[in-house]
């Protein structure tokens, strides 16, 4: 049974804005993601060159080696405009908040075995600095990426990484372990275990091609590190010591899966646009993946001991499958 409610119906003159009707090939209603994204970045008649980089226009497609016929083809399958993004994150935050509350109420952190705490301190906590580095690198993409489709998604990712750095800080606080944060920072700065990763993100901070940064930081490094730490290590800790770490890192694990869908879509579309793009992307993946594997290897070993290399190899294969599915031809070495 349906109620026949009525409203006064007035025939509109048009369904959407001109630039969207031309893009969609028809005058039909556009989603809020499309309305808030497509064709809105200025592309012409700029008044001045940037004083901080006068070789380029304010927005300039020449800031990357990737060439796209249409930069707005790099759509976000999550359709994240600002409102959709904060609603999605607020839902995840609600869950995380409940998890942190549960851990506190039940005294789960206090009761967590020392062996587990040691892994949290040595492997998880230094990652808050890595997430901060990712925030810097993603904000670079947000500043210089071409078109709003990529710039807004990268800027939201930058804020997500800041959130992750803050969740890791809260993790230490949940264990009442403020001193561990200082020790983790020293380790990040000095311990050989972390120097490969620190060099990796610092090198990206001076890499000028924003698409290369996207590949190296988000696709390759996150693609290896997040499954290693937030899936495999969290599972292993749960099995040994009870499900505390997976509760307190649920945001990261869920986020990585969701973020990968966005990245896979971007890579797939960019690679499909031209053989040159596909080749360039594969070359970047090859080059940065070799470095990332080397940098992550000691972390895998710290997390899994002698089995670390095998675990990392499996994850590397998963990443290769992901990227092959996205249309990249990765050589045997990659």
């Amino acid at each position: 049974m349906q109620l026949d409610l009525r409203t006064i119906s007035i025939k509109p003159l048009r369904q959407t804005f001109g630039h969207l009707a031309r893009r969609m090939g028809a005058d039909k209603p556009a989603s809020r993601y499309i309305e808030g994204t497509m064709d809105l970045q200025p592309v012409e008649n700029f008044h001045y060159r940037p004083s901080w980089d006068p070789d380029f226009d304010i927005f300039d497609p020449r800031r990357t080696a990737i060439v796209m016929k249409d930069w707005y083809a790099l759509k976000d399958p999550r359709q994240f405009f600002y409102g959709a993004w904060v609603l999605a994150r607020a839902r995840m935050q609600d869950a995380a908040e409940a998890d942190f509350a549960l851990v506190e109420e039940r005294g789960l952190a206090a009761a967590y075995p020392e062996a587990g705490k040691a892994v949290v301190r040595s492997v998880l906590l230094p990652l808050r600095h890595l997430a901060w580095g990712a925030n810097i690198n993603d904000s670079f993409i947000g500043a210089h990426g071409y078109g709003i489709a990529i710039s807004q998604a990268a800027t939201y990712a930058a804020m997500d990484q800041l959130g992750i750095a803050q969740y890791l800080t809260r993790l230490a606080l949940a264990f009442s372990d403020i001193e561990a944060l200082a020790a983790a920072k020293s380790a990040w700065l000095e311990a050989p275990l972390w120097q490969g990763l620190r060099r990796y993100v610092e090198d990206l901070m001076v890499t000028g091609d924003w698409f290369e940064v996207l590949v190296a930081q988000n696709v390759v490094l996150d693609g290896l590190l997040y499954p290693l730490v937030y899936d495999r290590l969290a599972d292993a800790l749960d099995a040994s010591h009870g499900p505390v770490v997976s509760l307190l890192t649920r945001f990261q694990s869920e986020w990585a899966g969701e973020n990968a869908k966005w990245l896979d879509a971007v890579i797939k579309v960019a690679a499909a646009d031209s053989p040159e793009n596909a080749e360039k992307l594969a070359a970047w993946v090859g080059q940065w993946r070799a470095r990332a594997l080397e940098a992550v290897a000691p972390v895998a070993e710290a997390a899994f001991g002698a089995e670390g290399a095998a675990v990392l190899a499996e994850i590397a294969e998963d990443l290769s499958r992901r990227l092959t599915k996205a249309g990249l031809s990765l050589g045997a070495s990659a």
Binding site: R32, L40, P42, Y48, Y82, A90, S151, L162, E202
Partner: protein, 514 residues
């Protein structure tokens, strides 16, 4: 809910762990290569840690608060649209405010988003980086909620559907575009003074009052809700702008003359940009809030002066243009409206001569100038229009090389004289609307000679569609400009007799009678 404050930690310490403790001094790449933008403007920062966080918001709380606001906002927009809310505005003339707004504001919010992302990438201190990035995503919010709230009006009224195309092409949108292009191409500190301080702090009320109160006064719940929902974001942005000024001034005495020059420059550039906003208050809102003159006195002369008194302890002086803005406040809005009225073929919004009671309101609000200078002009135009001889200025305007406004404002000492200043630089002649703009040019001539001036481009044949031979002897530069703008004829000219006027009347009848 907010994060529980750890018993051992104060809020400030906790926030420091959540932000600045995350940062480190890079060593594999030198800091000056990682953050290359923070030194060349001459601003000296000795201790980034001295930055006082203007608000302490972690991402979890940010997501939570912002999501609540978004939920409410979009629920109201949906209800407004479903119930033909556009028919509840005071008068269809009001919708022209939205047309001017859509062309001039969301595209600039987007520039603010990109600009704050860049500053958020390039500031060395973690405190300002986080605050700037948060503002960057807020600006995405403002840009998108504005587009979303006006989208429904676009379905029913003319003049809004090509805003994306027109943002970089339309002559009268060049002033706003040049303002943000100027800021984003400056270094990060100047950007913060330009947008964070001058625009979002000193001038923010003059920007917000006309649009948001105007929407509230005129029955536009969609635009009103967007504005009120943005207000708590704006409060954060204001504190960031002010903190940035104080931080620079506290770090080194050598920063003062640089900051003062930027304050002088950007307060003036903002003032010029606001002339068209003031025009909305005095001419375009059917139900008026207050006159632009009253707003200027309250928000700029009083509140602004209080702010600069507060900053006097750092040696900051009231912006140089202060006196001129006071002298101009009784003139600029009339000159702007008359300027737009005179060009009925060149804007995607309608103009009109105010009704008699509206002219009387202007006489009362502007006792020193309206009856003496402007009412006679408007009454003359009205008589001409009614006798079938509507004034139509078909020539291209002359523009100020710096603010890109059309040269139309009077000499501060003589209301009957248009102010125009000119000078030759490297063999080329440039024009300015004011001494302040000329001084801005003199400080950075190599920047301002790059300005894109629509009138010049048309005359050079750069605004013709592809396939038109601009070198042909019979090429007429102005003939293609409407096509270049994608200007819909139905959206131009007089409100009286427009399709908008007829549709609104018919739809309102349909909605209110049987």
């Amino acid at each position: 809910m907010d994060m529980k404050v750890d018993k051992k930690l104060g809020l400030k310490e906790r926030y420091a762990l959540m932000t600045r403790d995350l940062a480190w001094e890079t060593t594999y790449q030198p800091m000056d290569k990682v953050f290359p933008q923070v030194t060349y403007e001459g601003i000296k920062i000795h201790d980034w840690n001295a930055w006082e966080d203007p608000f302490r918001l972690t991402m979890d709380a940010y997501w939570k608060y912002q999501a609540e606001k978004e939920r409410k906002l979009y629920a109201i927009l949906d209800a407004f649209n479903q119930n033909n809310g556009h028919l509840s505005v005071t008068d269809a003339r009001y919708i022209n405010v939205l047309k001017l707004f859509l062309g001039s504001t969301p595209p600039l919010e987007l520039m603010a988003a990109r600009g704050f992302t860049n500053v958020g990438r390039h500031m060395v201190g973690a405190g300002p980086r986080v605050a700037c990035l948060m503002q960057a995503v807020d600006e995405y919010r403002h840009f998108q909620t504005q587009v979303h709230s006006i989208s429904n009006y676009n379905k029913y009224y003319n003049g809004m559907n090509e805003f994306a195309h027109q943002q970089s092409r339309m002559w009268y949108l060049s002033d706003g575009k040049s303002f943000f292009d100027d800021a984003i191409t400056a270094g990060p500190f100047e950007f913060m003074v330009a947008i964070g301080f001058a625009f979002e702090y000193v001038l923010t009320n003059i920007l917000f009052v006309p649009f948001i109160s105007g929407a509230a006064y005129n029955g536009d719940m969609a635009a009103m809700t967007v504005g009120f929902s943005a207000q708590s974001d704006e409060a954060r942005h204001m504190t960031l702008g002010l903190e940035c000024i104080k931080f620079m001034l506290e770090q080194d005495p050598d920063n003062l003359p640089i900051v003062q020059r930027w304050i002088d420059k950007w307060t003036w550039r903002g003032t010029r940009k606001l002339a068209s906003v003031g025009m909305m208050m005095d001419y375009m809102l059917p139900k008026r809030i207050m006159s632009f003159k009253e707003a200027w006195e309250m928000y700029f002369e009083q509140n602004g002066a209080a702010l600069f008194n507060d900053l006097a302890r750092y040696g900051v002086k009231v912006p140089k243009c202060f006196v001129q803005t006071v002298a101009e406040k009784e003139h600029v809005t009339h000159q702007s409206w008359i300027g737009f009225y005179m060009k009925p073929d060149s804007t995607p919004f309608h103009t009109w001569i105010p009704e008699k009671d509206e002219l009387d309101w202007l006489s009362e609000k502007y006792p020193n100038t309206f009856d003496k200078y402007y009412r006679p002009v408007l009454e003359h135009f009205d008589a001409q229009e009614k006798s079938g001889n509507r004034f139509n200025n078909k020539t291209a305007p002359m523009n100020c090389q710096v603010c890109i406004s059309t040269i139309k404002f009077n000499d501060p000492d003589d209301p009957m004289k248009t102010l125009i200043r000119s000078k030759t630089y490297k063999g080329e002649k440039f024009h300015f609307c004011s001494l302040h703009c000329e001084e801005i040019f003199d400080a950075e001539p190599e920047k301002y000679i790059q300005a894109y001036i629509s009138s010049h481009q048309v005359l050079q044949g750069n605004c013709a569609p592809e396939g038109v031979d601009t070198t042909a002897p019979d090429f007429e530069p102005g003939a293609h400009i409407a096509a270049y703008w994608r200007l819909d004829k139905a959206a131009t000219g007089d409100f009286n007799g427009s399709e908008d006027q007829a549709n609104f009347a018919a739809w309102r009848r349909q909605a209110t009678s049987n």
